[in-house]
């Protein structure tokens, strides 16, 4: 009796020291994150540019850069859950084109052949909110088709979304009759344009920030919360880590995957709506090759194309880096055609870094 009562505490003692060993400190965890090093790089570039080019650190330049990368950044946010599940969405650029044309057509109030008369004549069907709702709906449908083909039919994401890239762009071109849409209804278009082209949400903030950038910041925080704090976010990571295991433990893998693709397409739709509002015109070529920038942003920020890793902040900082480099090159007088070279190098560098870190972990 005395023996067992002694044995139990000593067994506990044997276990507890191991449990008490310090887990990774916050600092160690931060230093291990790719987004941390991208942030450092970004700060360095900004510091150098501020000294060398007086124009760089102006409010106007900040306003323009942040607005420009907001369009890509919002898509990179939507891309992140898809990449975390181990998928990819190549169709987001084309979805932007389609959404631009759908929203633009609504604002034009030109009769559409295949719609009934009451629709073509009514006023509310051509209001600014219908332009937004139908634009988002067009994006959601594209995402739904992607998601169902990938999750339920079991086709590879690369192939499905590559097909959608082509198909959706073609629908956009046909719907627009190969024309650029502008000259929107003045009353309704004013509100629509204010959303994407306005600043500070119309509030007096004491500094100028574009609406798209404000929306981008809010969505970054939102996605960050969702990925960290919701069961859905956890399931996204579980699917990317081990889809089979997620399935066996009762995660609704197929449904979650479809939702990820719908969210990704919705982010592209939102980006297109803001972009049309900002430029005041809708072009069926909107978003061409943006899918690569969105994917690059997420990957540079630390999303792993093999799945299982990625953060909202990473998408944010990744898109910021791409556009600050762009802006810096322009200011430094480098031929703008070199931009692609830099973006490409950064993508490859990001993946190399990921490899190195992955090796060290094992």
């Amino acid at each position: 009796m005395a023996d067992t009562s002694k044995a139990t505490p000593s067994a506990q003692v044997a276990i507890d020291p191991v449990l008490a060993v310090q887990q990774q400190t916050l600092l160690q965890r931060i230093a291990a994150a790719q987004s941390f090093w991208v942030t450092i790089a970004l700060i360095l570039i900004c510091a150098v540019m501020s000294v060398k080019e007086p124009v760089f650190a102006t409010e106007d330049n900040f306003f323009n850069i942040t607005r420009n990368f907001a369009f890509i950044g919002i898509m990179a946010l939507g891309m992140t859950p898809v990449i975390v599940t181990g998928g990819i969405d190549l169709s987001v650029g084309s979805v932007m084109g389609l959404v631009a044309i759908v929203s633009g057509s609504v604002l034009l109030k030109q009769p559409i052949d295949f719609m009934p008369d009451w629709w073509n004549n009514a006023d509310w069907t051509h209001s600014w909110f219908m332009a937004i709702i139908l634009g988002l709906a067009a994006g959601a449908i594209a995402g739904l088709v992607n998601g169902v083909l990938i999750a339920y039919v079991g086709l590879p994401p690369f192939v499905v979304t590559l097909g959608m890239l082509s198909a959706v762009r073609s629908v956009a071109v046909v719907l627009s009759e190969s024309k650029m849409l502008y000259d929107f209804r003045p009353d309704q278009a004013a509100t629509f344009k204010a959303l994407g082209g306005g600043e500070n949400f119309g509030l007096a903030l004491g500094f100028r920030v574009s609406n798209p950038f404000l929306i981008f910041v809010i969505l970054t925080l939102l996605l960050g919360l969702v990925l960290k704090m919701s069961a859905w976010g956890r399931h996204i990571f579980a699917i990317g880590g081990n889809e089979q295991a997620a399935n066996l433990t009762g995660v609704p893998v197929k449904r979650v995957k479809v939702q990820a693709y719908v969210i990704c397409s919705l982010s592209a739709a939102l980006s297109a709506i803001l972009s049309v509002g900002w430029s005041g015109s809708a072009n069926n070529s909107l978003g061409q090759s943006y899918e690569l920038l969105a994917i690059a942003s997420a990957v540079i920020g630390g999303a792993n194309l093999m799945g299982g890793e990625g953060t909202a902040y990473g998408a944010f900082i990744g898109s910021a880096l791409i556009f600050v480099i762009r802006n810096s090159l322009l200011m430094a007088g480098v031929d703008s055609n070199w931009q692609g070279m830099f973006v490409g190098s950064f993508i490859i560098l990001a993946v190399v870094l990921e490899r190195v870190r992955g090796k060290r972990r094992e």
């Binding site: 067994a11 276990i15 191991v18 449990l19 060993v21 887990q23 704090m229 919701s230 069961a231 956890r234 399931h235 990571f237 579980a238 990317g240 880590g241 081990n242 089979q244 295991a245 997620a246 399935n247 066996l248 433990t249 009762g250 995660v251 299982g308 890793e309 972990r361």
Partner: protein, 246 residues
Amino acid sequence: MPALELTGISKHFGAIQALTGVDMTLEHGEALGLMGDNGAGKSTLVKVIAGNFPPSEGEIRIEGRTVHFAKPAEARAQGVEVVYQDLALCNNLTAAANVFLGREIKKRLGPLQWLDHNLMARRAGELFKELKSETRPRDLVRQMSGGQRQAVAIARTRLSQPRMVLMDEPTAAISVRQVAEVLDLIKRLRDSGMAIILISHRMPDVFAVCDRVAVLRRGRKVADKAIKSSSPEEVTGLITGAIERA
């Protein structure tokens, strides 16, 4: 009333016949060792019981009620827990996240729900302690040893009060000391009235904890008898086919 009754369970995948007419009963507080060579149908049988896929033919009764599971969650709701052969863990998540995967503990405020990370980590820590495993709930599974991973997989089955635990090779990837611990755990589960099916290649494990042994060969059950009236030699013969039937 038996905890589990299988009658005439068959399963084929296209032209491949994985299981043919398997009958089996399992009482509460009984541990059944399920043995057979690779491809004999052991894992398929477990997956049929666990609701991973429905049987092509036959009937499953749990405590007398006929059940049809469309997915693992439904089987779990009926008290059937599984430890899978490959452990079904996500390397990129923490131990606690893996334990609670698919049934996360959430806090609620109106329509909002969010994960209760602290409570899940604490509960997972308690389960690991109960299993006498040196596993930290907040560590990534990627960094863990075979035994720790095993503990995570087994801790999962302890979340609910299961009626039945199916274990597919629970001792395959762990150290000798940990094997003893897992076997101890199986005994404790059995003594608490749970029905257990233990799939194992390791004859000593089966003879150490099981009350009965069943042998599958090419999808058919060729033996089902009390451990006391059998021997490792006989079971080996049944697995290989040297002994036709027992």
